[in-house]
């Protein structure tokens, strides 16, 4: 089926968020996405860490303020130790 534009946007946003958190917040690449693990979603955990670092509201969700911060030009060094 044709992918609805919103779903395509959402997929791109998620890809962008994941890449940002892998680059700067040592989010591990998930090599078994088809397996559901029991703990909190690691992406949400890393997202909270990033939101806390930048003094944003800690929601664990890619809300507009968080995406706005992620889109800012920045240094390539991670914000947390790798």
């Amino acid at each position: 089926f044709p992918v609805a534009p919103e779903a395509e946007d959402e997929r791109k946003t998620l890809q962008f968020v994941e890449s940002y958190l892998q680059n700067f917040y040592s989010l591990q690449r998930d090599h078994q996405p088809h397996l559901r693990n029991k703990g909190e979603n690691p992406l949400a955990t890393k997202l909270k860490e990033m939101q806390a670092f930048f003094g944003l509201q800690v929601t664990g969700k890619p809300d507009p303020e968080t995406l706005e911060m992620m889109k800012k030009p920045r240094c390539g060094i991670p914000d947390v130790e790798q």
Partner: protein, 367 residues
């Protein structure tokens, strides 16, 4: 500030650097000057010295690179990641890489090479990212006019924790980032701007959006790179959708977040006599169309329709506002006028012509 894990540091104070290649986007002399100035940011506050060398291995090698440049950290093209650097150590340790696909400049356009270099050298010397939004070691880029740049106190504390203090007789200090809930916080100027309230303090502006919980702190230069820091007065003319900003004997006009061409102009253009050197505060009364300016212990009244000062002014502030104070900042909200003096603000009712409440200056922030 954050020191890199394991506290890596250079074992000697006299370091060398070499510029391996140059970006075609800047004159070679401007690249040299920007990088030289960036090194002086850190040598001014520590015992460290940096000597430029040619044609041999240096402690810190600086270069412009494309995408994958074989250090396991490929660049990503324009914007995004601008540069990166390696912690102190042999070989690649201390080296700085710039993404060649960025628009490198020596001013406020594109990305200022001096600012980015100064940040990366923080990493080359052993600092990691700070979460102080005003710090040089904050991860995101923000422009400051290199002529006005002062290394913030957070970064001075960080680098001196690694290398000790400067040998200078007078220890350098730097600007401290304002904290919205600091009870001692005072303001240089305040204005409304299309429903938001903007509080000016030094190089910073604190933005209070009616629907957002937290207060946003930014550099003034983030929105207006050509404006100076230290704005002294500001007011919004809602009818004309303009904000006027004042510093010393000059003023600028903003339309939204754009600076109207043809400014700054001199305040005498508004009808002030030459004896007035600066404006301390201002607000526009939307109902009467009159603008009130505060200088020293007096206030002036300007008719926005006639575009001239009303006769019979200046008058003493106490004669109209009932308080013998010097006003640092003022703005009008929901018909009330808020006059700020140090850590206190006075809510003035223009109809009753009296002060109806006294509050802390920071009461606008949801602390």
């Amino acid at each position: 500030y954050v020191i890199t894990t394991g506290n890596p540091k250079w074992k000697k104070n006299n370091l060398t650097y070499r510029i391996l290649n140059y970006t075609p986007k800047m004159r070679r002399a401007d690249v040299d000057a920007a990088i030289r100035k960036a090194f002086s940011v850190w040598s001014n506050v520590t015992p460290l010295t940096f000597q430029k060398v040619e044609d041999k291995e240096a402690d810190i090698m600086l270069s412009f690179a494309y995408r994958d440049h074989y250090d396991n950290s490929p660049f990503d093209g324009p914007n995004g990641q601008l540069a990166h650097a390696f912690q102190p150590g042999e070989g690649i340790g201390g080296d700085v890489h710039f993404d060649e696909e960025e628009a490198w400049t020596k001013d406020g356009r594109g990305y200022n090479l001096f600012i980015v270099t100064a940040h990366e050298l923080g990493h080359s010397l052993g600092l990691s990212h700070s979460n102080d939004p005003g710090a040089l070691m904050y991860p995101t880029y923000s422009y400051t006019d290199p002529k006005e740049f002062l290394l913030p106190q957070d970064d001075i504390d960080g680098i001196q924790a690694i290398y000790g203090r400067s040998n200078a007789a007078v220890q350098p200090t730097g600007p401290i980032t304002p904290q919205a809930c600091d009870p001692n916080l005072t303001f240089d100027a305040i204005t409304t701007l299309r429903g938001e309230i903007i509080f000016f303090k030094g190089r910073y502006m604190l933005r209070r959006h009616p629907e957002r919980i937290e207060t946003e702190i930014n550099f003034i230069s983030l929105f207006w790179p050509t404006l100076p820091s230290g704005i002294q007065a500001a007011y919004e003319n809602v009818e004309r959708d303009e904000v006027l900003l004042f510093k010393e004997d000059k003023y600028w006009v903003l339309n939204g977040y754009n600076i109207v061409p043809g400014y700054p102009k001199q305040i005498y253009h508004l009808g002030f006599p030459k004896t007035v050197k600066r404006v301390n505060a201002a607000y526009n009364d939307e109902t009467t169309g009159k603008t009130y300016f505060f200088t020293a212990d007096r206030y002036w009244r300007y008719d926005e329709k006639k575009k001239s000062m009303d006769h019979g002014y200046p008058r003493k502030i106490v004669s109209h506002f009932g308080k013998k104070i010097r006003v640092d900042a003022a703005f009008q909200e929901n018909g009330y006028v808020y006059l700020f003096h140090g850590k206190t603000q006075f809510q003035f009712d223009p109809h009753a012509k009296q002060i109806v409440r006294e509050m802390e200056s920071i009461s606008w922030f949801r602390c």
